[in-house]
Symmetry: C2
Subunit: 396 residues, 2 copies
């Protein structure tokens, strides 16, 4: 039988990252391609102890259907933490628990966008979000990402050019894939422009807790007196990525509509792990745990940066992140990025080609993404040396 | 700010069941409104023991990102069980793990239907599926459900009338809400009609393991030599509903496209509980466990039926299920069903009005749904007596 797929999904391909992952089943490959947190970041012993206690005392609740909006004590704990740590959440805002941060992004687009509507995005941007928007039929339009975030003038121009823009999608802190952080000044300017145009901002902050250098900058949501920011984050990078528990803080009418959408997808998020998150947050020292992850990533990022400094030809540009999981490298003009990535795989080092993160899927890229959270120190040293020598060879 | 929602979600209301659930926070109410499995059906001790072992031996894998299609050993175990128990799965079929059965239904519609396309459904049908279809913009068109399933002639007529039908959605075994089972003869006839019209069948079988009377009937998927059946089920009614682990068996191109859709939603299903399911299936006696649930529900269903027999006026018709969770009651013409449900709540008994399950949201209903898996025996006796007396009073 010939299957005919819906317009929204027919053209959507599995992401390039997934294709690269297939080659990673070869254990001799050094992978800088993942977006995974280090397994050392999972507080497995604490989670095991709390799990045993949940099974002993609350198994019936933990294994039964829950509420679509989320386990109420977890919603309250998240609301409090967002207020205390990030100055987020006003009277008109509420919190909903999602099955990972990605579901929050997807639901936001699903409740706001009709097919053909535009979502303005940083270019490059997170492939998972871009595909989620495309799967709703929305059009992803890129705004060039600078070292300190998109330029407000570029945003203003894009809004003029695309009057059917429904949403501006931003990862202001430790951006994926670029590793850059939008300055406080730009955040304020972006917020004012969005407010003027009555366009919603979708702020994605999965790495916000992972600052290991520089000064904290408040999320855009902290400025949100007009109720135009949908803030998404998750526990994936601080407790467990595999459990799929995220959260959204947004104006209540938006959250209510997202709950209707979520009920159509998975009804609610895994109840047991919601209880586990709540108990970890309230019974363990969350801040001390996060401090350990920061120290780990500080060390790994510094190691990768020093290897890049040692082995990469000076013509190759790379970002110096103050947190998060990624470094973004850009090859000089004239070097074929796709050929570079292919040769790197032949030399047993995997990186993600920049084209995977393009808003315009047909556009070229000179860049590739490096992850430092998962490879071992030895692999970082060996792998960066290999791709540094490869770059030198291709630059000639 | 005035929020403008997408066309697909703007008109979608939270389900009537959710509204009823709000009134259930009153602990003095006897609820026959749930769709929950009995907490006694969760093998909590076994799950606790396996969990402890997973934390001890495989925490890094269990807490890390997984594959969108699902944890490979679980996919294999599900594939084998479907083949052995239900005679399902041919060379062209594969299995994907979903976050509950509902996500399977939603993804099937999402990959096949454009806005305006028709999904033919049994009328009444499962509200969660109907809303999932509506959220994609599909139109739900009902075919009257008889005691032994929809009539093939009605299906043929509906397909003639709606040439833009993309999918036929059926719960052939222990239907929700009606509790009825489609006969083997009708299954074969329905399958042939769908094949003739090249229309996909979405077969939903969440209760298939819960037969406590009568003879097993194979799923429609067992007939599927043409690759036109998408089969959805879950562990919600046999291991835990709150963990949100379901599965789909369908032709590989369909599963591949569903994986693309799933990646846009929640990336993958909770990895820890996928491992838990796999280990329970392969290390414990799943069949013996299911036999216990069947015995429990047999007893509860028989109790409710005998109370209905004792207290319900003979003008009230009700189904006699051979499995599943629900009994469907129909009031005689002239009795206002909505008034009945409202008065029942005032008398502290909650049932779900039949209108909630209508494919046409504006259509009336004379019926209501009763659940026997969650209330205690005492509540079943007291509650059925109350609504029996209420019905007698209203019939006059």
């Amino acid at each position: 039988m010939e299957y005919k797929f819906s317009d929204n999904l027919a053209s959507l391909k599995p992401s390039a990252i997934r294709e690269i992952f297939k080659s990673l089943s070869d254990p001799s490959i050094i992978s800088f391609a993942a977006g995974n947190p280090s397994p050392l970041s999972f507080p497995a012993e604490d989670l095991a102890a709390i799990s045993a206690d949940i099974f002993e005392k609350s198994a019936s609740t933990a294994l039964q259907y829950g509420i679509t909006e989320g386990y109420p004590p977890l919603r309250r704990a998240v609301t409090e933490r967002l207020r205390d740590k990030f100055k987020i959440g006003r009277d008109f805002d509420t919190t909903i628990i999602t099955s990972g941060g990605n579901q929050g992004l997807e639901l936001a687009c699903r409740v706001l966008c009709n097919p053909g509507d535009v979502v303005l995005c940083e270019n490059p941007s997170f492939i998972g979000a871009l595909n989620a928007f495309r799967a709703v039929g929305a059009k992803t339009v890129g705004i060039p990402l600078r070292e300190d975030g998109i330029d407000p003038a570029d945003l203003e121009a894009a809004l003029q050019k695309h009057p059917n823009t429904k949403m501006i999608y931003l990862i202001p802190t430790f951006q994926n894939p670029a590793g850059t952080t939008t300055s406080a000044e730009k955040r304020a300017a972006i917020y004012e422009i969005a407010k003027k145009h009555s366009v919603m901002i979708l702020e994605d902050n999965p790495y916000g807790d992972l600052r290991f250098a520089g000064e904290d900058i408040l999320p855009i949501k902290a400025l949100d007196d007009a109720g135009i920011v949908i803030y998404c984050s998750s526990f994936s990078k601080i407790l467990s990525s595999g459990m799929r528990v995220g959260f959204v803080c947004a104006p209540d009418p938006i959250v209510q509509k997202m709950a209707v959408g979520k009920q159509c997808e998975d009804v609610h998020t895994n109840q047991f792990f919601q209880m586990l998150c709540h108990r970890f947050m309230t019974e363990r020292d969350m801040d001390a745990h996060i401090e350990k992850i920061r120290a780990l990533y500080r060390e790994k990022c510094n190691l990768m940066l020093s290897c890049l400094n040692q082995y990469m030809p000076k013509e190759v540009h790379y970002t110096r992140p103050e947190g998060g999981l990624f470094i973004w490298c850009t090859l000089p003009d004239g070097v074929d990025m796709n050929a570079f990535v292919k040769k790197a795989i032949e030399k047993k080092v995997a990186v993600v080609p920049g084209t995977a993160f393009n808003c315009d899927t047909e556009a070229p890229s000179q860049s590739f993404r490096l992850n430092y959270s998962t490879p071992s120190d030895e692999d970082i040293k060996a792998g960066i040396r290999i791709i540094g020598e490869l770059a030198a060879e291709m630059i000639g």
